[in-house]
């Protein structure tokens, strides 16, 4: 009954169009009244949820990414990717994917990735003879890498939703291999289509010019070196490294690249205010919602329910995947991470999954949700940039959905893909690795 009141009121509020953040707030109030709990408690949870030092990393990462994306970074990353893979058959589609990999290293936003890489490459690909729907489909699918390749503010949101018990550094490193796996899978598919459909080769870039482009892009890619280097060496915390990334992004854009106008800066801040505060207020209200869920023992009940369905871990994991995929097609990523992590993480732990590994499963699942209809932020932006109907893009994306699903299965059932690099970096212990591998390789 508790669950029905809380989740039912949330579903109703969402259905009639109350913004997600405020729906969570109202549902927590309803839940608190139902439990006979004083409402001050809800308010305290909202304010304490927003007063954490870790949370600062989110506005910083988004701001750093926005400065880079709008300050001419996208063009430079595309040129850099062109040097590396442009000369191959189907080169521009590979450039598109590789540019997204690089873009993921400066920003964690798939939407920003699609908007900036897409607006450079979709027209360019069409000019060289690629169908526009294929170009848009590649852009959208490739942009999912941005969620996984560090830095990823969604990983920070997951870490917060997990109660701050999962190290952000470990999550960042964990994203590297799944991100590259995703990129490689898409690239192999693009190569196949290029040969089958006869997409053109690009030309090789003369060495001198290539060096200049590489140097240019290196300034931006240093961002990731600063962030990861800082966190791994223990020089700064994730939050501090994110703030330094903003300063670095600002320095590179305004003094090295110099193609962003000073008078446009207030607009950039205005935009960042609008995009980030939406997520921040969501985190505040989600922490009160999570608190009420815990009081109602929903996570425990959910774990009992799922483990009662089947004895088989693989089957339960598959069920979780299906549930996440379905919810992901209906709702945005950040609210789902915030609502579902407190429920599903205890379940995942009871199955013997490492929280870092489960974070990756969640990010890949919800990342796929961003590019699937009916609701997919990346798909909307991609269709708008490509000036196509959503249905056309979805049709050319069908084979890529297949590829992404294979990646999801690998990330779900092979924990080493997520845990190997954090283990190398010393952020995941030997025991965790053993526990994770023995679970899946008896």
């Amino acid at each position: 009954m508790d669950a029905f009141i809380l989740l039912g009121s949330l579903a109703l509020l969402l259905a009639i169009g109350v913004p997600v953040a405020y729906s969570l707030g109202i549902a927590s109030i309803v839940g608190a009244i139902w439990l006979g709990m004083p409402l001050e408690g809800v308010m305290i949870k909202i304010s304490s949820g927003l007063s954490s030092f870790t949370l600062l990393a989110i506005p910083f990462f988004v701001l750093a990414g926005a400065i880079m994306a709008e300050g001419g970074m996208a063009n430079r990353l595309v040129s850099f990717a062109y040097i590396l893979v442009g000369f191959i058959r189907g080169g521009l589609s590979l450039v598109n994917i590789l540019a997204s990999t690089f873009f993921g290293a400066i920003s964690g936003s798939s939407v920003a990735d699609t908007a900036s890489i897409g607006s450079v490459l979709i027209p360019e690909m069409e000019k060289k003879g690629y169908p526009r729907d294929f170009a848009t489909a590649v852009t959208c699918s490739g942009s999912v890498q941005a969620l996984l390749i560090p830095p990823s503010h969604n990983a920070v949101i997951y870490s917060l939703a997990a109660g701050g018990t999962v190290s952000i550094g470990a999550l960042f490193l964990a994203g590297v291999l799944p991100g590259l796996l995703l990129g490689t899978t898409l690239a192999v598919m693009c190569l196949y289509f290029a040969h089958k459909r006869g997409y053109p080769k690009g030309e090789a870039i003369p060495l001198k010019q290539a060096l200049k482009i590489t140097l240019d892009a290196a300034w931006g890619l240093m961002t990731m070196v600063i962030i990861l280097g800082g966190i791994l060496s223990g020089i700064f915390t994730a939050t501090e490294s994110a703030s330094i990334a903003v300063v670095w992004a600002f320095f590179v854009t305004m003094f090295i690249y110099r193609d962003y106008k000073w008078k446009d800066l207030p607009k950039l801040i205005h935009r960042t205010v609008k995009t980030v505060t939406v997520v921040m207020i969501l985190i505040g209200f989600a922490s009160s919602f999570g608190y009420i869920m815990t009081l109602m023992q929903l996570p425990l009940k959910m774990t009992t329910f799922f483990t009662g369905l089947s004895e088989n871990k693989y089957a339960i994991l598959m069920l979780i995947n299906i549930m996440l995929l379905i919810l992901g097609t209906l709702m945005d990523m950040a609210p789902l991470i915030l609502i579902l992590t407190p429920i599903l993480l205890p379940l995942a732990k009871s199955l013997g999954l490492d929280p870092v590994h489960f974070g990756m499963v969640m990010l890949v699942n919800l990342g796929i949700g961003l590019i699937t209809p009916p609701v997919g932020a990346v798909l909307f932006v991609g269709s708008a940039v490509g000036k196509l109907k959503m249905e056309q893009v979805v049709r050319s994306m069908l084979p890529f959905f297949g590829g992404l699903f294979v990646v999801l299965m690998i990330v779900t059932y092979v924990p080493l893909v997520s845990l190997f690099i954090p283990w190398l970096g010393g952020l995941v212990s030997d025991q965790q690795i053993c526990a994770a591998t023995s679970l899946f390789c008896p």
Binding site: Y22, L50, P59, S243, I269, R271, V273, T275, G284, D332
Partner: protein, 178 residues
Amino acid sequence: MEKYLRIMDWVYRICIWLSGSAIVIMTLVIPWGVFARKVLNSGSSWPEPVAIFCMVIFTFFGAAATYRACGHIAVDMLVQRLSAGKQRTLSQIVNVLMILISMFMMIYGIMLCQTTWNQSVDSLPILNVGLTYLPLPLGGFVIMLFIVERMVAGTQSHRPIVTYDHAPELSIVKEGGL
């Protein structure tokens, strides 16, 4: 009516300025803290509480302004299938619910400020805890102003001041998507 909307434009502008200044200050004080600790070897504890205070200001005033810009994430898939008349009724119900939550933020926010007014922040004693929570009720008040505006005058997300930041090449990016 136009005069009223112009006053609300000012409220919006103040929110964006407060929120924008807060994020700029945040991004300056944290690197300063690192610099002081690593280079000047004089670690100070004030940047952290200052940045968190700025983040609370940033969140609540920014979220209020974003409400005017219709930027919050909402599920509109079901609502869009209804007739225009039903959509209007539903949006008024949503407005009433939003008024309720903003009143909750105001009333319980003020209570929270009152009970914590005499505690000082550990790492920065001149700041009191109650003050750091003040953006909650204030943000609740401002968002209520915007909800009332929407109830009387309809959505104002098209006002020039609200669309001021739309970059031509990125204007297709739906706000709220990250």
